[in-house]
Assembly symmetry: C2
Homo-oligomer: 199 residues x 2
């Protein structure tokens, strides 16, 4: 699929992809769910950010994963390995049956397997929740991988260089103080994955 | 210090802090450095984002750390533990001697101890780099900690509930393929910290 437009055309470091667009942005960190080319975000019905976005203004949603610190022999070439996506779109409000489905998609994006265990949203909760969707028609990715690229003369320096990998890692699950002792930690929480980079 | 203004006044969930401001935002993920109440960001001299921000337009810089998934017994009360800061400011361009100092501050913010080992920026590199600074005069933080808070009747459900802690964790350092074998991994890379939440 071609997500390239004049606004997502690559400008700087085209081999990594590039973006310099800031018309309007969801600056508030938020969870999301994706099904095919549709992205869902949600929040309180009173959220000013979501209500603003619900009017259909141009918006921008960014997802970034940091994979490591790139320790070059100079500050100038020091960098970060990451995977980042920018989606430009206009949101629409999700209603009716799709609203429950969207909440499930968001939940399963964050912790696959969880939705089957929890109580579903009731009518009051659905009413208190605003769900928006974006079509992914205009987007680009920016990625850096691999070792540092130093100036040729800097390779002679007696300075360690390489990559310090970083990963979002789960710790030991902490049970709610009010949880009965006979309810075990579910597998999906014990084996929480961070999807690896596909080669 | 009082960073509260009509724009950073708390509106929703005031006990966690709140923000609903999106005049203009650095949507591009970027490193930063802080010294006292001054924040530094940097990038290519050709970066459209930085050049735009350098004109002094209102901007917003957000820093977020995700501390864990909050697994409540309902989707509605499921949440995330996090620490997030939003700074509203207008940037100015950093020049002269402060430019080198700012780059050191950014480097030391990302990996303390590294700056002493690497080659310093030369004149050409400084010229190719744009450094901006922001004064932290208008800002607020938003934080969630602790177990889920469920509806009273949901505590009877046979569903595991609690927190799945998440942490950005360093892996084993990967040496540059061109690194001589006799240069050891420095301590600061082996013990890379993620600062914990201060109680």
């Amino acid at each position: 699929m071609n997500l390239k437009t004049p606004r997502t055309r690559l400008k700087r470091l085209p081999k990594r992809g590039a973006h310099d667009f800031a018309t309007m942005a969801a600056v508030i960190p938020t969870g999301y769910g994706r099904k095919g080319r549709t992205l869902y975000i949600h929040g309180s019905f009173a959220s000013r950010m979501l209500n603003e976005l619900a009017t259909g203004i141009p918006m921008c949603l960014t997802v970034t994963l940091v994979d490591g610190l790139v320790l070059a022999r100079s500050g100038f070439h020091s960098s970060v390995n990451y995977r980042s996506v920018v989606v430009l779109a206009k949101a629409t409000v999700v209603e009716g049956e799709e609203k429950g489905t969207a909440l499930e998609i968001i939940s399963e994006q964050i912790l696959p397997g969880r939705w089957a265990d929890i109580r579903r949203p009731n009518r009051k909760e659905l009413k208190a929740t605003l769900v928006l969707k974006l079509r992914i028609n205009e987007a680009s990715a920016k990625i850096r991988t691999g070792p540092p690229k130093d100036d040729e003369e800097d390779y002679a320096l007696k300075c360690w260089a390489g990559v310090l990998p970083l990963q979002l890692t789960p710790g030991k699950p902490v049970a709610d103080p009010r949880l009965p002792a006979n309810i075990p930690v579910p597998d999906y929480a014990r084996k929480f994955p961070r999807p690896g980079r596909k080669k």
